[in-house]
Symmetry: C2
Subunit: 341 residues, 2 copies
């Protein structure tokens, strides 16, 4: 293994000079610096990460704590993960991915062993038990997902309240008066998926204000049960003219369910969903939707985290709670309801 000592010897300078030549933290004569760089090239020197971490107390690694809820649509998580790892790399950081069940333990382990400079938590629950540990940790943390208490951490999420309202408003403007909302499985809500009821409650409230009949249901997250669920909901409310989807599996299953029932979109029924564009592209999703903005959220969380790690954010500065405004991507699946239906 080639060390900075080897570089120094070959370049004919001291180790500290070699170090300064590489870091630029002190003035070095151009000629000397050139000799050092040449030696680096010749020997193929790369600093040892462990040694540097020990000396600087910075690992240039961020810890990414994923959290896979049973019954949740797992592939959606990949978009967030890639957003985080890609942005981190662009900012000079590597990412330690932890998929451990026991997130609290993982957090304690990484924080106290100083393996990482900061944390990104995915899929944060309303009362996420990881937050207590995170607030105690020496390293800063950024969340993707809005918890009840946001003190001491930076938060990034889609505005699910706004999303619920927007869905209802959009349908209302078109003239719909009876809608069905299909959420994630109840299981997900119980495990802390606050975004589910946040959207649902906002939609119900707005519907009540507007005099709209909104039937809110939990749907399964797998086939074929979600297909059966959808048929059941449609049977129960024959006069409903619009569907709101906050459930990826439901979106994926809906085309064939509608086909079997001989229903056309948007002539017979209007549909609007909430899922990632990538998901929409991969599957035959001809439905207008509100993007989950997974990539954007992951990247924003990392940017903020790195800014904190590198001290670019004043110590006393308030934490950020950044909610992305929902935007409808129009795929033409909503229209005025059929007259007389």
């Amino acid at each position: 293994m080639v060390t900075i000592g080897d570089v120094a010897r070959v370049a004919g300078v001291s180790r500290s000079t070699a170090s300064y030549a590489l870091s630029g933290k002190r003035a070095i004569t151009p000629a000397v610096r050139a000799k050092v760089l040449e030696a680096v090239q010749e020997l193929g020197y790369t600093p040892n990460a462990g040694a540097r971490a020990l000396a600087t107390s910075h690992t240039k690694v961020i810890g990414l704590l994923a959290r896979f809820l049973e019954d949740e649509f797992a592939p959606a998580m990949l978009q967030y993960i890639l957003g985080v790892t890609n942005e981190a790399r662009e900012l000079g950081y590597d990412t330690l991915l932890v998929s451990e069940e026991d997130g609290v333990h993982a957090l304690e382990r990484l924080a106290s062993s100083r393996m990482v400079d900061g944390f990104v938590l995915l899929n944060v629950a309303e009362n996420d038990d990881r937050l207590g540990v995170l607030r105690q940790a020496a390293q800063p943390g950024a969340l993707v997902g809005l918890p009840e208490r946001t003190s001491g951490v930076d938060v990034f999420d889609l505005d699910f309240v706004g999303t619920g309202r927007l869905m209802v408003d959009h349908m209302h403007e078109l003239g719909h008066r009876e809608l069905i909302l299909v959420s994630q499985p109840q299981h997900v809500v119980e495990r802390g998926g606050a975004y589910v009821w946040r959207l649902a409650n906002a939609a119900l409230e707005r519907a009540a204000q507007l005099g709209i009949d909104l039937h809110a249901y939990f749907g399964s997250s797998t086939q074929p049960s979600i297909g059966e669920d959808l048929n059941r909901f449609l049977d129960a409310h024959p006069d409903a003219t619009g569907l709101l989807l906050n459930n990826e599996a439901a979106a994926a299953a809906l085309p064939s369910v509608l086909a079997e029932r001989g229903l056309h979109v948007p002539a017979d029924v209007s549909v609007i969903g909430r899922y990632s564009d990538d998901f929409a592209r991969t599957f035959s999703l001809p439905f207008s939707s509100i993007d989950s903005a997974a990539d954007e959220l992951g990247r924003a969380a990392v940017q903020q985290l790195v800014a904190r790690i590198e001290g670019r954010i004043p110590e006393g500065a308030r934490n950020v709670v950044h909610l992305i405004s929902p935007e409808i991507l129009d795929r033409g699946s909503t229209a005025a309801p059929r007259v007389g239906s």
Copy 2:
């Protein structure tokens, strides 16, 4: 930050004694060890990962190099990633996930900076340019995906040759004589997805031996193009009685395509696919299939890698090339072809 020096002082022993008491590498009087452990509890001591790595040259981290090919079905990758991270954690290792485009560069960076003890490469191509670097690296590596040259690395993959044959054999036994094979997009093949042509060639060869008419196509990986592709293939071969799928998007799209054409499985057409069970469960995939065994492959790669890292494999031992035998999970989507069709 609490160090082993603090522990030693509180316990009233030397640093080395504290270290030995914790590692057990030398005999320590029970009473002394108890005092050390008590001090550890009291102070909440956790060893500093960087310092330990520097002293032992072991980081207890493995580098996971993912590789996302354009047009490939990304969510499938998540299963491999989780298999790797979970197995690694169970064996006491953390996982550094690298999604960097330039895998060669990433590998060099991690290897020479000694950030990881070993590598797992996902989605390995026939002539993967990462292998050259990996063979030079001081750390061992395990691959998921079979390259042309396997020297110096341990390899784990599904037996795609066997898979191609099995699909054809299965259909042949049922009496089918004309089949359509839908592979991943040509793009994927060109980028190095060897598994695609490996399966296709094996299927074609076996079909030729058995006197079966096999029409092999590349299919798109996104909707709605793959739906159009499928319709085109079916139009072109009206007498084909069976479909072989090596393309997740095709599998996901097929149910609605068949519904539109009024075809029933397996009465009108037999179908067999190759995708992960998780994928099958998530979507309405009523097709018998050969599991990708993503989780199993990821775990096996990690087990082998860790065995090498920890020196449990003799230095001169041959590298492992482990191909998982394909097995058909029967979901009842294949049957004898309709007589007279």
